[in-house]
Symmetry: D2
Subunit: 380 residues, 4 copies
């Protein structure tokens, strides 16, 4: 695993836990964790259960006992690392967004396509697909439970930048993060909306806004909670992105990604309305799906809150009795399960780098549209 931020903890938990609940075809070993800072990396590798720690990505790639590379670094490092790993014959999981630019994402998708010809497989980490309720929402739509999809409302609402004194981090620096709310969380909304509906966005009209244009700079060595000094630096990414989109079926989508939705902590919501019903997934209520059956008798229609915790629901047989909740990191165990099973069977894991590239094109189109007065812009 390359990287040791908060995503590293989540991925480690996935690698560690998946074999304990699922019957995997192979038993993944947590061999080596790569990071720049030797002390921090060694300490976290030990804490998270990796056998070794290393600062040398290239050396790790050269090892024969490494089959899988899991990339959880910031977005601007994804492209080179993933391509190098694939060229070294390693299967790759790469965190989302696939890359910071459409061009990088295209190169990665190309590299993955070539690698796949050699039996080397790549996947991008849109983990929220693997929340059982999100998978079940997809199943409902796929079996026709909402009929023909007409409208999608997708939002990812957070509020951690609402405070204008929250300090400047790499996530507010366009050169490192690529974009702000759009790429960080809007990417999830786009992927999940397309995943649940099975549709693809073909054109978009968007707007982006930065509400707080300067933020306190953290002094060297200061943690996030440290008292910021008087220096301020520019925020070069969007705080807020909203767009309308048209899907290939003609359905319309309304999207919003913001880190200024005061009071909303992690509200990734996708509501899909069709001529026979509707489904709603909300990450703040992540063990449930709301389903409306418009074909039920008129006096009995309503949104049914389905706890997606039955043994017959996606992924749930491995876990607990009905009504026992899963949390955020379970998706990472499901990701490991799906990835390992795909590798074992030699089939392409999803979402592929091509899927990640398509999401990137949507994000790129939103950005171009926003820079072009919200003109409708094709995602191709």
């Amino acid at each position: 695993m390359i990287g040791n931020g908060f995503m590293g903890a989540a991925h480690s938990q996935g690698w560690r836990t998946a074999p304990r609940f699922f019957d995997l075809p192979v038993d993944p070993q947590m061999t080596v964790m790569v990071g720049r800072d030797p002390d921090k990396n060694a300490a976290l590798a030990q804490k998270w259960g990796w056998a070794e720690a290393s600062q040398d990505f290239d050396a790790v790639l050269a090892r024969d006992d490494i089959d899988i590379v899991d990339i959880v670094t910031p977005g601007h490092l994804h492209c080179d690392m993933a391509i190098a790993a694939l060229e070294a014959g390693k299967h790759v999981i790469c965190e989302k967004p696939l890359a910071n630019t459409v061009d990088e994402a295209r190169r990665m998708a190309d590299a993955a396509a070539s690698a796949a010809d050699r039996g080397v497989l790549a996947m991008v980490g849109f983990t929220y697909r693997r929340v059982p309720a999100a998978s079940f929402a997809r199943d409902l739509v796929a079996r026709g439970a909402v009929g023909q999809v007409r409208q999608v409302r997708a939002q990812y609402l957070q509020d951690w930048l609402s405070d204008p004194e929250a300090p400047l981090t790499w996530r507010m620096d366009k050169s490192k993060a690529g974009s702000g709310a759009l790429g960080d969380i809007g990417a999830h909304a786009v992927d999940l909306a397309q995943f649940i509906t099975g549709l693809s966005l073909t054109e978009v009209s968007g707007v982006m806004e930065t509400f707080v244009k300067e933020r306190p700079v953290l002094a060297q060595g200061q943690g996030l909670s440290g008292s910021a000094g008087t220096e301020r630096g520019p925020v070069t990414v969007d705080d807020y992105a909203a767009f309308s989109g048209r899907f290939d079926s003609g359905a319309m989508g309304s999207f919003e990604a913001t880190r200024f939705a005061t009071g909303r902590k992690n509200a990734l919501r996708v509501e899909v309305a069709g001529d026979k019903g509707a489904v709603l997934f909300d990450l703040e209520d992540m063990n449930a799906v709301q389903y409306y059956d418009a074909t039920a008798p008129g006096t009995e229609q309503g949104f049914t809150r389905i706890y997606v915790t039955e043994a017959d629901h996606p992924y749930m047989e491995a876990w607990w009795p009905p009504g026992h909740m899963l949390g955020y990191e379970h998706g990472f165990s499901h990701q490991v399960k799906d990835f390992v099973e795909a590798l074992a069977s030699g089939s392409q894991p999803t979402p592929s780098f091509a899927d990640g590239y398509q999401v990137q094109r949507v994000l790129g189109a939103v950005e171009r549209s926003a820079n072009d007065g919200s003109a409708w812009t094709a995602t191709e």
Copy 2:
């Protein structure tokens, strides 16, 4: 109409409004309102739309142009007034609880039975039955949607006595109010639970408690919001009543009535669980019913929140388009409609005085049980 408290306003609104939305077989006239205090009564009669005001109940009973007497006085006055009205040949609506004692209630039920033989009809005002969602919950149970009922959880939770400095009123005086939470709001929980399930309680085991035993006495002429003096008087009724009950079918009920449920303003909730499903009515969400269909496919079961605002739902055709909410006082219009239609057809309106007497017997049994160490006590 006899009485001019807050219930008088509600009943007046019912009489005034019902003919404007429903096609009634006769057109009720708001003839005369009776109250003790001449100035207050005259002013309120005018405000609420009564043609005349009077202080003389007997004189009103003697009038030929009065067909219906609507009694909204405190409970200790119900018995004599209702019996006098029935004997005078007037149809009677009497607010709940039917009376303050089981004995009074029995006499009223007897009087109503005699009167019915002469074509004079009586009804007790458990208005919450006529909230469309409550009626619809009853319909669901009646058509077998929950199967055989096993358990009922019924609560009426309020918090207006939670503040120990809330002043002493007649509702805390046993000689006027009969009982506290039990008769005031527990009566609704009992009636609604029996109404929705179609079952009757046969025995109960209960407990009653007074948390605040003394409260400030209002000086003469002080309103409820007036600053209370230093004098304190005893609270002689229950603040809290809870009981278990056994229904005639063998189903079990769990009941709670309290005016100390901090934060709960008007939470009259009845949840009915059967072997095929469950329904939940909650007065704080009064335009909806929650229905669980245990016969649905396993992965799709959940509580469906049905907005009871479709034209096919009880009483709703007369009102607004789907999704437009009704409020508290609509039940009083529905009560007028049902009562007037029953009179016009010569059939017994429900709930009858006999029904009110049965509720009173349940309350009486709870009180006896509470005084007898929670021993199980028959409601007969």
Copy 3:
């Protein structure tokens, strides 16, 4: 009152009820109801409690005993009627949207300004402002409870056109309705968002879509529920409208109006996020406001669901004890109260025709933007 559709029933209930709960400075009389079809109009006038029925609008305008004209006709009739009434010296309430075109709305606003100089006053009927919870949300924002507003999310979601076999009515005919979801329900979202925030939209970027382009034509005399024939006619209005907007303060708004949001019956929602807090109003939960106080201690922050039913809440002192719900039509009583009080004091009632004209300009700008590839369009 001019017009006798469903809005006529609602306005009549307002005129009839307001004096029974509020102490109005004058006592409005329900004198005459005007409608085209003599039989239907006479029957409804009687049912709804109007003393007379008439087919002659001009004759009614000429009467000395008429002081107020309440216009509840379809939108294309508003302009001429309202101007005529104002010129005849009558105070006017006109249902929303003020008119079907920006030009009509401007003429009406001009006429109202002239009339005001003569002491003749006009108001447009955005009744949802007068739902106590909506008024209270406005109060919270006005007193700084959310701080500086950054984002607004406003939606009006209905689903009654979701069924492609729902018949064609005048509301789907651009010549009568002006627009579809945008003018019918989007107007409410725009007005309420501006009302609650105290801000005005200055430019918009929008899209409109018609999902079902042809619908069954009702045969002559068929009711809405009648089985439609085989003939189909074109839908000439939008089923769905979505737009981004910029407020005069720099805040961003995301708006959506649709009659295809399967399962959403009457979901008018306005969520306002500022740097100190957030408020959410939802018409499907109309007796409550959700308020988030971002200045509370960190571990205790959350959305507080405030039942807006306390005596100190807007309009509530006149009604019931805490926790007793109001419904849809109470807003019409509040409208009568506010209008009559404004007339009695000679002050301008709000929202004025100028306010209605401003909303119309916003809607007009959305329509122009949608026709111009979602280009940002000023509301002036």
Copy 4:
């Protein structure tokens, strides 16, 4: 660890995960798992990450490299195993309920007291205390946020026995399970209510009921989902238990435990009402607490839904950013953390066996009361 049922999986996940997120004073090793069936036990030990498997409890107790014994067997085995382990000088975690009878529980508490004198410590596994929201609810009450507690409403509602054809298992056999709903889930309600309030129940009046008195017997080797044969066996435990309780402070409690609450999967709810506020914990919404502050300004009071996912909330600093949910099994990691920290510091972990014994006395008193016509029965 002794036992390999579903609780074994949960405890294993706790032992495996806690050191990866918390900085523990010592690093627990998963040494050996004990179970009766050698093949099953060996397979599960490997799957769950235990270094060895064994069938010999005594031999394990004799080993020097074992410091801690974690007992997750059915209740009738707890007493002998725990006492033997304590006498062998091993620290003990024992799953709840502590034992099947009050007498066994007393002996265990005595043994734990003796062992504590020798520095050998014991804890009972009421894991729900360690759900962060439950811990935080306790913190709120402890700091006076609800004032003086007057009422507690505690329910544990499940529905997995609602189907009368659900097969007979050891949980419906009094000789193995001790009791039914009461001990299995009611124990949690009692413990959590006492934990959150800091109060102890002193007397109770209860009722117990078995709705389905016979169930299909599983043929040998049949799994739970196997088609049951025609043979039926008696259910010897309660399906439903309800009781009123009096706390040492005079507060009243209303309790209900049932596995027949159709539609309720895992609804462990504790609502505490005091003179200054109220708190509600609901395991079906386990990442949140609802808090009502009755000292807030009157127009702004309401239940605040606090996501207990901030770094300052109990246990949360170790996990994810705000708004990222925890699930069912996180409580087991918290249990490991708290237990290991207590051992390292030589302090008594809570809940102690004495606490478990006290809960058992409450359950015993409920059972005696139910057998004595619901007479009030002391918990001593």
